[in-house]
């Protein structure tokens, strides 16, 4: 199998880039490359990951300035050609600002920055990012954000639901999606969505922080495994 190259974009203020690199590098046959935001070359990446952090200090709005980083031009092209793009936390915010995904993330309902482990339910196990999971699997994956309150106009939410674009929802440990399991006020307990074509995923939880038993959970590992397997199958 030819090596899979996972491009990890580094914005000024990204702080989960090396965690993501570490998680990705732990897979056989996967080579991470770090892509500085000022570059215009994706260096042969088969997959692009926009990591978590505080790109540009969250100035103006989370993700708003990173969205116009030079490399985003190539990332948007790459996504439009159908290649996989994964946005984690701040990366999700950048994807929404860039228009690759619909909606917006505003301040958490309870005003606090939340850093805690949380449980999410797999709603759609048929995407390139989730095919190693089963629908309704409950995953223990941490969140760490101040602006994770997902919002979209009701017609957009309806469309996302109809097309199975909601991939993860916050749930309790039994897998019930209830108001009490919603950490940040997100519409419909939404924790992650894909675009219509299914090749762009954004999620607030951090799968890279749950990719090794040493970290307390390896439930996020299969997300990376899903996309690497899909890419390997395509080669």
């Amino acid at each position: 199998m030819a090596a899979i190259t996972a491009g990890i974009v580094v914005f000024p203020g990204s702080n989960c880039d090396h965690d993501t690199e570490h998680a990705v590098a732990s897979f056989d046959g996967v080579r991470p490359v770090m892509l500085w935001h000022n570059e215009h070359d994706l260096r042969g990446a088969d997959l692009i990951i926009l990591p978590g952090g505080f790109s540009y200090g969250d100035y103006l709005r989370a993700g708003a300035i990173a969205r116009f980083s030079p490399i985003m031009h190539e990332v948007i092209e790459f996504a439009r050609k159908g290649h996989p793009v994964l946005g984690i936390c701040n990366g999700f915010q950048v994807l929404l600002e860039s228009g690759l995904l619909e909606g917006a993330l505003s301040r958490n309902r309870d005003k606090k920055f939340i850093c805690s482990s949380t449980t999410i339910r797999v709603e759609n196990a048929a995407t390139v990012f989730t095919n190693r999971y089963q629908a309704n699997d409950v995953l223990s994956i941490p969140i760490a954000h101040g602006d994770g309150n997902y919002f979209a106009p009701s017609e957009v939410i309806e469309r996302l639901e109809e097309n199975n674009q909601v991939v993860f929802r916050y749930c309790d440990s039994e897998g019930s999606v209830i108001a009490e399991s919603n950490p940040n006020g997100s519409a419909g307990n939404i924790a992650g969505i894909v675009n219509r074509e299914g090749n762009v995923l954004g999620l607030m939880p951090h799968p890279e922080r749950a990719s090794d038993p040493l970290l307390g959970s390896s439930d996020g590992r299969m997300l990376f495994e899903s996309v690497f397997d899909s890419l390997a199958g395509r080669q």
Partner: protein, 84 residues
């Protein structure tokens, strides 16, 4: 003559403004019973080197839509002023 744009970006009414709510509660706690609500937004000043007012307005609308506000959850207004 360039223009100075005074731009206000506010959350749409349908979006919960948690900072505004916290300020509203603080004002009520201070005894201002007449305070009904508070909303927090952003104020941005941009100097635009453009002598034509219509063109300056066009630029201002464009930058508000493209970067300064997120139309999914925010509204914007601006005033243009001549600067010497």
């Amino acid at each position: 003559m360039p223009f100075n744009a005074k731009i206000k970006v506010t959350l749409r009414q349908s979006i919960l403004d948690v900072q505004g709510k916290a300020v509203e509660h603080a004002l009520k706690n201070l005894g201002y019973a007449a305070v009904d609500s508070a909303r927090i937004g952003k104020y941005i000043e941009v100097n635009i080197n453009e002598s034509d007012q219509a063109e300056a307005e066009r630029i201002c609308n464009e930058i508000c839509q493209k970067l300064l506000s997120n139309p999914v959850m925010e509204n914007y207004t601006f005033e243009l002023e001549h600067v010497n």
